[in-house]
């Protein structure tokens, strides 16, 4: 948690590093479903990107979400422990995906 806090503070300092007349970026709400430890999903995913990245992909399979979380850890170096990776994958499959067969009403 300490590490996360540090990242956030760094982000803030970049934002104010070159003050005189900065552009003002709006903050957009991307509501995600609650439950199944969504707080862990928020804690890690939001370090680098909004939930727009999740919501605009459509429903995805378990192997897809597992591969995506692994990409975040292996390629983008997201500091997510093994246990939390599993929680995030389960959350994404339950709320934004499907177990094996494609959802016929989805994509």
């Amino acid at each position: 948690m300490k590490k996360i806090l540090l990242f956030s503070l760094l982000a803030v300092s970049t934002l104010f590093a070159q003050v005189s007349k900065p552009i003002e970026m709006p903050y957009v709400e991307y509501p995600i479903e609650s439950g199944d430890h969504d707080e862990i999903v928020q804690q890690y995913c939001l370090i680098c990107h909004s939930f727009g990245y999740v919501l605009n992909q459509g429903k995805k399979s378990r192997p897809y979400w597992k591969g995506t979380v692994q990409k975040m850890v292996n390629e983008f170096k997201a500091p997510i422990g093994k246990e939390d990776q599993q929680i995030i994958v389960n959350y994404l499959v339950k709320h934004y995906g499907y177990e094996s067969q494609p959802n016929p009403s989805g994509h």
């Binding site: 948690m1 970049t14 552009i23 970026m25």
Partner: protein, 408 residues
């Protein structure tokens, strides 16, 4: 493990740090989401309200949908936006901003925007900027849905770019004989130091092409911040992942640097068709996406438009390719059985959108499918939707576009 409260994230990104200190709170009521998510339309700096696919990093497309593609030049305030990393400067002081040219050069340079404007010969090119993943949602019409944000045709635009030839900058610095690659980096930064930076690499020979410029103006104005103010790389004919925004560093190198975004992310199968069986995973040899493929998009009408029988409809759109030039755009109104040539509009150059139009006076009621198919001057033709080769990343989609309308 402490909970981070959602409302604090949503209220303001800056409170992210503070919210971590607040401890556990009761989760709010679940929010129902529709089956297919519709992103909000929000005004961003120097932009009209745009469809906000993401705000951090920003991914925006015109709120006009297809209609933006009835004109050859896309206005700056409606031009699509796509960044890769979350920390983007929200202010650039032109007195301090410098483009550094370094590495294997005889004279390292540190150039202000004013230097670029006053000490080099200006040049202009009209060119299409298209995301490699543009239109990828349509892969799901005939195959498996691909990875990534499911863009419709909105991740493209065409502008008149003004700036300085990249080769003039490199010649001013004097590239050493040992140099083989040029690395190009901008000011967008990851949230964590460990995350790979977003940069591009080009072989020296490629950087010497006349049409590649470092642009400081877009459609006669400064670049909007969100399109890469104050300068960006313009590589006509190439997908936009190479067009580095807020360009701050040109590093001339003797060896290739491995790069996540070039070697892993923006890649297609390394075979002749650049395709694999639909539904395959990324377990294939890859190569970076590079030049664009011939494509046309119908700007008007939009799907499900009701058209009165006997009225005169002007079907309109744009076509483009990798820079060979569009030879012809063919229109079909009967599901591809017969094709007629559209009228080509103003020619802004071989790298630009070529606008086209087709007059239609529907004489019978019912459902019609309008299709548009472009052919370029070297005979490249768009594949039909069921002919297009599939890739897991959903890149380079260029199948024949189609729109269903109802004549009433």
């Amino acid at each position: 493990m402490r909970h981070l409260n959602r409302r604090h994230f949503l209220g303001a990104g800056l409170l992210l740090g503070a919210s971590a200190l607040l401890g556990k709170e009761t989760p709010s009521k679940p929010i129902a989401i529709p089956q297919e998510y519709t992103p909000p339309i929000i005004a961003f700096p120097e932009k009209k309200p745009m469809v906000a696919i993401s705000d951090r990093p920003p991914l925006l497309k015109s709120a006009k949908g297809r209609e933006i593609f009835t004109q050859a030049i896309t206005p700056n305030d409606e031009f699509f936006v796509r960044w890769h990393l979350p920390d983007i400067p929200t202010h650039i002081d032109l007195n301090e901003f410098r483009l550094e040219v370094k590495g294997s050069v005889n004279t390292p340079l540190s150039l202000s925007v004013d230097d670029l404007k006053s000490k080099f010969e200006p040049t202009e090119v009209a060119a299409v900027l298209q995301c490699g993943g543009n239109s990828r949602k349509y892969y799901a019409v005939t195959g498996q849905a691909t990875h990534g944000v499911q863009w419709d045709h909105g991740a493209m635009g065409c502008a008149i770019w003004k700036g300085v030839k990249l080769k003039d900058i490199l010649n001013r610095a004097g590239v050493k004989e040992s140099a083989t690659w040029v690395g190009l980096n901008g000011l967008e930064k990851p949230a964590m130091d460990e995350t790979p930076d977003f940069f591009r690499e080009m072989e020296i020979a490629e950087t010497l092409q006349d049409q590649i410029i470092v642009a400081y103006a877009m459609n006669g104005e400064d670049l909007p911040y969100l399109n890469g103010f104050p300068i960006r790389l313009v590589i006509p004919g190439h997908f936009s992942d190479s067009w580095v925004k807020m360009l701050s560093e040109i590093m001339v190198m003797d060896t290739y640097r491995k790069s996540f975004f070039m070697d892993v992310a923006y890649t297609v199968p390394d075979n002749d068709c650049e395709c694999v069986v639909s539904g395959s995973d990324f377990e294939y040899k890859r190569k970076p996406i590079a030049t664009m493929k011939v494509k046309s998009v119908i700007g008007y009408p939009s799907p499900d438009t009701l058209i009165k029988k006997g009225s005169r409809v002007k079907i309109a759109g744009v076509a483009f390719d990798q820079g060979k030039g569009i030879k012809e755009v063919m229109i079909s109104l009967d599901g591809g059985k017969s094709w007629s040539a559209a009228k080509l509009g103003q020619d802004y150059g071989k790298f630009a959108f070529r606008p086209w139009s087709f007059e239609w006076e529907p004489k019978t009621k019912g459902d019609f499918t309008i299709m548009a198919r472009a052919i370029n001057r070297i005979g490249n033709i768009q594949p039909l939707p069921d002919e297009i080769g599939w890739n897991a990343g959903g890149y380079q989609y260029n199948a024949v576009d189609n729109v269903n309308v109802k004549i009433v």
